[in-house]
Symmetry: none
Subunit: 306 residues, 2 copies
């Protein structure tokens, strides 16, 4: 909600410097107005305030402070004993896993509710639910878990994620997204999590879900004026039609941003490779920073590391 100068004054750091920090070290990623002006949130301000303390009071060079910040952010999300409790993600995941494999709805929901009260909601999804889904997937593959159990677990997960997604207020002036899995694809947890991620940022996401046919997608893009498409695909056998559709899509809508997720894109070559996004949220944050930074140049090719 704040302009760069308001923030600069509140911090006592010139705006030029803030821009340099952002550009050089990717230290915050304020939203932009239609015209490209930075809009800082209170959270952004707190981040910058912390950085200023490190730099001004503790004499740490900004490059190091930025690294520390990244570490801190990743640690908060990766640590097994989150700040507020002495229960670890693993413990909670183990309990939930047991409840789910026993088809115990009541206990499963109770554990998830408890998790939400103990941990940050995104950590619940990424550090409790996702590991369980991965584990169940693997164990089904090894024959240790029944397909019905896998069914039950992913249905449960989907439910809890979608329930959450719709609670985020969206800013309808921000670019819209469409999320879908192509035909035959039924694994869409990643799609859901990415939907939540974008919705949390304030983007409206049109969730078309698993097994969406390519037909009519263009109409939908036109109709909804979506600017970002997220496609999830796990089976590499359907890479060809996906690629074909993507080529066409970019021809029709040159400014469309495309994001690809799922195992199928793991071993893919350029030009698709630059559009692939890995499953972890830290990468998503980095990607988002980059996309928003280059808002007027929607190509994702000029992504940088760091």
């Amino acid at each position: 909600m704040f302009t760069i100068n308001t923030i600069a004054k509140r911090l006592g750091i010139p705006a030029v410097t803030l821009r340099a920090w952002e550009f050089r070290y990717g230290v915050v990623a304020p939203a932009r107005t239609g015209g490209g002006h930075r809009i800082y949130t209170e959270e952004d301000f707190q981040t910058l305030l912390w950085l200023k303390e490190q730099v001004v009071d503790r004499g740490i060079p900004i490059s190091q402070a930025a690294k520390l910040l990244k570490q801190r952010q990743e640690e908060v999300s990766k640590t097994n004993k989150p700040l507020t409790s002495n229960v670890s993600y693993e413990e909670m995941a183990a309990n939930l896993y047991d409840a789910l494999l026993a088809y115990d709805n009541v206990r499963a929901h109770a554990y998830i509710d408890l998790s939400f009260s103990l941990f940050h909601f995104e950590d619940v999804f990424h550090h409790i639910l996702v590991p369980i889904l991965k584990r169940v997937g693997e164990e089904w593959h090894d024959g240790k878990v029944l397909i019905a159990q896998e069914h039950f677990v992913s249905s449960f997960a989907k439910q809890r994620i979608l329930e959450f997604v719709r609670l985020f207020p969206v800013d309808r002036t921000m670019p819209k997204c469409i999320a879908f899995c192509p035909p035959t694809e039924t694994h869409h947890i990643g799609l859901l999590l990415f939907t939540m991620f974008m919705q949390k940022k304030g983007h409206e996401v049109i969730y078309l879900g698993p097994s969406t046919t390519y037909t009519h997608l263009f109409e939908i893009i036109t109709e909804t004026q979506a600017e970002l498409i997220f496609m999830s695909l796990t089976d590499p056998r359907y890479l060809k039609p996906a690629q074909h559709w993507l080529d066409e899509a970019l021809e029709h809508f040159p400014h469309l941003k495309i994001v690809l997720g799922g195992l199928a894109f793991d071993q893919v070559d350029e030009p698709l490779k630059s559009k692939v996004l890995k499953g972890n949220i830290e990468d998503w944050e980095r990607w988002y920073t980059n996309v928003m930074r280059n808002k007027k140049n929607p190509s994702l090719k000029d992504q940088e590391k760091g």
Copy 2:
């Protein structure tokens, strides 16, 4: 009650600016005299005062402050339920239908939320959501609605139903249910509604969802000690395997209650016919009364008309 200059003086903001705010950001909408002069109410003044605070004291640009205001107002209007309204199911369904076909998540959820505040929740599902789903299904069949729209609508419905289902407290001493659609079957709204119905009665329902394979179902029944199975099937081509599995199931678990739903069972003969339940909730209530009355004699054959 106030003219623009009165307000301008009270705020310390020139009238020109107020008009610009109104014109550019739609920030207030004062009533007009017959001749077009603006008439501000005290409420308008308070709104403008709040805006002035954001802009002058907090350093938020007017464009952003206006957005914040809109969001605040939306939240307020969501919580202020217009209880006195005499909206019909049809009207509400028509509005919701429009929002859904336009992929308008925000509006769709707003209508459903409004519906919950106006009507009994079960009526919302059975008299608003179900008619929409039927209509969309038919119109898709007639080529009037895209498959992606159908997708979007049923995903939306599923989400809202499941969200509700889990809120009912279940009595774990009551007989458990398993709900599933056999392989190839993806239409499971009826299954969901029946799940909600049973859960509301206090039964725990293990929702296995669409396209559940028959393999291992016996194990699950044994493990969960479920006493009731609900199967939904729309495609009559898969009636044979369904019947075959049911025969086996009754052999293994003679006390199992079986309920069949979906179009596929419409024209079926005995002994399946007596297990078929139509889609309307009145029939469900009647059926439930009967089953519970005859609890010690789990056969459903001796159903009476009530």
